[in-house]
């Protein structure tokens, strides 16, 4: 219970995601004393307590509870509880949440994991996407070099900023654009920002990379960020490439097209009454071609992915869908039923027993 109290208070100040990572999904809660590099565990974290809980439950099953008709319910309850905890652990590890943005009339075949970033270099000679290389966030550290055997250049990562924010223009003294010598990045107003854990805020990873050509010559320094939406391109040995940092893409083996968005506010208010996306679903092989309505409280489930209507951007005409992949989705249902049956059994037995005693 102490863990829950600490976790809830932490969430109020630091946001839900941080609370999840630091308090509930860790072994210990650490205290970082100012000025030192120490990490002192001060309170058991979620995993630790859950571990003890499961051990406790198992031990109680083995040693404490005598199996009989009377205690069958209790047995079920404890088994159910173990599986709930186990299920939560599994879902923490195996489930992924991402966001799909679809503009009205357009389609998409991927979603974005907005809390992760990736750097992508694509060979776009002849106007087509011939090949590409994707470097995940873990490789984007200062001093690292990104290379690919196919291509006659590499990228030196000079500086990495965990978060950035748009500022008025590139003349702004805080702007990082002065670090760039080439590309769109040299002309945007982008400043460093502190890493945020607040609910609803995203960190936009930003990096300053140097492009080094086949003979080791520098082809300039480029500023890359998820906030920069335009393509930054360069040409080496007669081939054209594009360079960008973007939120991590997750592909689906099918496409979703947004035919229409039906949003209704309660009349005369800004309170959403119903939001629904009318989409068309088709797979690349051409096997599936059907329509579906995704509305709040009624998601679309297809091929292991569930699409929930999350919101709508009026200005851009973009429907925001939450995409969840959770292979362990059935576990909480299964465990809850176990516990419920166990509880009902005990409750009913208790009632009957009480009535018999009275008579």
């Amino acid at each position: 219970m102490g863990l829950l109290i600490i976790g809830t208070l932490y969430q109020a100040t630091s946001g839900a995601i941080a609370a999840q990572e630091k308090i509930f999904r860790s072994f210990f809660i650490y205290w970082y004393p100012d000025g030192s590099q120490l990490k002192i565990p001060v309170f058991p974290g979620g995993y630790f307590l859950a571990g003890i809980f499961v051990l406790n439950m198992t031990a109680s099953l083995i040693w404490r509870i005598n199996f009989s008709r009377r205690t069958l319910g209790v047995l079920l309850v404890h088994l159910g509880l173990i599986s709930i905890v186990f299920g939560e652990l599994l879902s923490g590890v195996f489930s992924t949440e991402s966001i799909a943005l679809i503009k009205i009339g357009k389609n998409t075949d991927h979603s974005l994991e907005i809390r992760k970033a990736e750097l992508i270099v694509a060979d776009i000679s002849n106007g087509e996407n011939v090949s590409q290389a994707i470097f995940p966030e873990q490789e984007l550290t200062e001093g690292n070099t990104l290379k690919n055997r196919k291509w006659p250049f590499y990228l030196n990562i000079k500086k990495v900023f965990p978060n950035a924010v748009m500022v008025s223009n590139e003349e702004n003294s805080l702007s990082l654009s002065k670090l760039a010598t080439e590309g769109v990045g040299a002309g945007v107003g982008l400043a460093e920002a502190p890493f945020t854990t607040k609910d609803g805020e995203i960190n936009y990873l930003t990096a300053c990379v140097e492009l080094v050509g086949p003979e080791g010559e520098s082809n300039g320094t480029w500023l890359l960020s998820s906030l920069i939406e335009e393509d930054q391109t360069f040409t080496i040995q007669d081939r054209q490439y594009s360079l960008a940092i973007r939120p991590k893409w997750r592909f689906f083996p099918f496409s979703l097209e947004l035919i229409e968005f039906r949003g209704e506010m309660h009349p005369g208010t800004e309170i959403p009454k119903s939001f629904a996306s009318f989409v068309k679903l088709f797979s690349r092989e051409g096997g599936v071609d059907r329509q579906a309505l995704i509305s709040m409280n009624k998601p679309l489930k297809y091929q292991g992915r569930t699409f929930y209507q999350s919101g709508f951007d009026k200005d851009d005409g973009v429907s925001v869908l939450q995409v969840v992949e959770n292979p362990t989705w059935a576990m909480p249902y299964f465990s809850s039923i176990l516990v419920f049956v166990g509880l009902m059994y005990q409750f009913v037995c208790g009632l009957l027993f009480y009535n018999r005693k009275k008579a």
Binding site: P332, S336, F347
Partner: protein, 610 residues
């Protein structure tokens, strides 16, 4: 005996109803008809009476107003605001409690709580300044002055909005203006060259202001609800407000008849022509009734609900039950017990009536927001306590139910000051199925935890202070508390799981470590601790009682505390003002727990009789 009490009380309630009726003679403005005029506000169709009551509560802190020796009902006040803003602005209306803010406003009388709009309007600039500064700061970091400044600005804005809802405030001769407007529009369509005349431009700007300032939309769709004429709620169609209706007229379409009606209404009121006013209002209501008969029925039902004030009445009855129960232990046991039982049953019926009325008016399951959850917890507790009374006797069930019922009503009645409690549901929560399963189960779980804690508190107080906690009563109470804790564990567990299932169906996540979820988990855990402690022999009777009382604290904090934190998906009833009463409640329960821990020989009931 019980039957006599029953009938007497019913008759008294009937008398209470009679007193509310206002006679509609030829010499008095028909307020009772006026307040039935339907308007669309915050997505819901409601009578002007509801608008009047909730606005008056927001501005004045109470549902009646004293002005120059007269007591004004909310609708009478609202009528003045619409028709006679000059006099309405002089009324000492707006309630300001914050001392610093009072100082800023000035005024000769110290510690005055009510201020008139006439006094406040000159200070608008300063007040808006403070409001803007306060709004920039995060909600939970504002101090009391900043919060009060925000409230004051909202109160003033509400008044101004209301006074500009039927026409531009302060208008002297509406029909004259309307005629001039119609002439301009006719001229424009005749000579359609060039832009609008200056006069027409003036009208357009004026009515644009009206369109933006209106508090509610009053012009109903004339054709009725074309698709579903018998539809109970026409909530899907947007009504026009007065300004929008007038602006629509500039495009050449004929003016909505409602505009002319209200123009005449204002004009005859200002001329103090009572019969003409009454006729306009009644004709208007008749026209509405023919277009939207079922909405009209609902509006009239809402008026009855507003007048009866079921929750306020049942709160009073519950308090009477508490008094009767306590006195029944001292004198006239049989009479007072019968009276207490009759009263609580009647209180419960009225309470249930209020709940059912809300369900009918909203078209929803009983719990949709924090206000209705509080009402429902009280209802659940009283319902279960009626069963308990049958088992425990001696008014023990009655008093617990009445205490929880009365307390929950008091909490709820404090929450009405922020507007209409029957708000519309936002899309993400809009699922009648889950609202009736998850929310109802978990609030019943809260009820039962409070009930167990209440019984335990009773055990402790009776045992310490009186000799009446004999062996038989002790054992009965202990079994009851244990039984209720079992029941509560089941309910809160099922309720929480249903919440998880709803979340999984809605946004793909069964458990999100949201503060409310954590709170519910804490209640389950504590209930389970109690059961394990008793079964495992870690505590006996007294310990069980003390733990059950702690359950009150866990439930109270988990229910309200998370709303005060303001984060997470469940922060839909943010109320920082509740922090102090919640703290007091927690302290009171801690006190009872300490009393429960006192050594046995200090308990009057356990002392050996000498």
């Amino acid at each position: 005996m019980k039957i006599i009490f029953f009938i007497t009380i019913l008759l008294l309630s009937g008398a209470h109803l009679q007193a509310e009726e206002i006679s509609s003679t030829e010499r008095v403005f028909a307020i009772d008809s006026f307040r039935r005029i339907p308007v669309q506000h915050e997505g819901r169709i409601k009578p002007l009476d509801t608008v009047a009551r909730s606005s008056l509560l927001l501005l004045h802190g109470s549902q009646s107003l004293n002005h120059q020796g007269n007591k004004l009902s909310p609708s009478q006040w609202l009528l003045e605001v619409f028709m006679n803003p000059k006099s309405a602005k002089v009324v000492k209306l707006i309630r300001v409690d914050n001392h610093d803010l009072q100082g800023m406003i000035g005024g000769e009388i110290k510690n005055r709580v009510y201020y008139s709009m006439a006094e406040l309007e000159p200070l608008s600039r300063d007040i808006f300044d403070q409001y803007s500064k306060a709004m920039v700061i995060e909600e939970n970091r504002r101090d009391s002055f900043q919060k009060a400044a925000i409230v004051l600005w909202k109160q003033m804005a509400t008044f101004l909005s209301l006074s500009n809802s039927l026409w531009v405030s302060g208008i002297e001769n509406v029909p004259q203006e309307l005629n001039a407007f119609e002439r301009e529009v006719a001229n424009k369509s005749l000579f359609s060259v060039g832009g609008d005349s200056k006069q027409l431009e003036w009208f357009k700007q004026r009515y644009q202001f009206l369109a933006e300032a209106a508090f509610f939309n009053v012009l109903y769709p004339e054709g009725g609800n074309k698709l579903r004429p018998k539809e109970v709620s026409s909530n899907s169609d947007k009504w026009l407000n007065m300004g929008e209706g007038l602006l629509a007229g500039t495009h050449g379409t004929s003016l909505h008849p409602g505009i002319k009606t209200f123009a005449r209404m204002i004009s005859v009121y200002q001329k103090k022509d009572v019969p003409a006013f009454n006729k306009v209002v009644n004709d208007y209501l008749g026209a509405f009734k023919s277009v939207f008969p079922s909405v009209n029925r609902r509006i009239n039902f809402e008026i009855i609900y507003n007048d009866l004030q079921p929750f306020f009445v049942s709160a009073i009855i519950y308090v009477l039950v508490i008094l009767c129960s306590i006195f029944s232990w001292m004198i006239w046991p049989r009479t007072l017990k019968a009276l207490a039982l009759s009263l609580i049953i009647i209180g419960f019926i009225i309470h249930s009536g209020g709940l059912v009325s809300r369900m009918i008016i909203e078209g929803r399951p009983p719990v949709t927001n924090l206000f209705s959850s509080v009402i429902f917890v009280g209802w659940g507790a009283v319902a279960i306590s009626l069963v308990l009374e049958r088992i425990l006797q001696h008014c023990m069930g009655c008093i617990i139910g009445a205490v929880i019922g009365a307390l929950s009503m008091i909490v709820a009645l404090h929450m009405v000051g922020t507007g209409d409690t029957m708000e519309v549901m936002r899309a993400v929560l809009d699922s009648n199925f889950w609202l009736s399963t998850h929310v109802v189960t978990i609030t019943l779980g809260y009820s039962s935890t409070f009930l167990a804690g209440g019984l335990a508190a009773l055990y402790i107080i009776r045992g310490l202070l009186t000799k009446t906690l004999n062996k038989e009563t002790k054992e009965k109470l202990a079994k009851m508390v244990y039984g209720i804790v079992c029941f509560s564990t089941l309910l809160t567990f099922v309720g929480t799981v249903l919440g998880g299932v709803w979340a999984d169906q809605s946004w793909g996540r069964f458990w999100g470590w949201d503060p409310k979820e954590n709170g519910a988990l804490m209640i389950i855990l504590w209930n389970v601790f109690i059961l394990h402690a008793k079964l495992g022999g870690f505590v006996r009777e007294r310990g069980l009682m003390v733990m059950a009382v702690f359950g009150n604290i866990v439930t109270g904090v988990s229910w309200f505390g998370v709303n005060m934190l303001g984060t997470g998906l469940h922060a839909y009833g943010f109320m920082a003002e509740g922090a102090f009463p919640l703290a007091m409640f927690v302290l009171s329960q801690l006190l009872i727990m300490c009393l429960g821990g006192l050594p046995k020989h200090m308990w009057r009931s356990f002392k050996p009789s000498s």
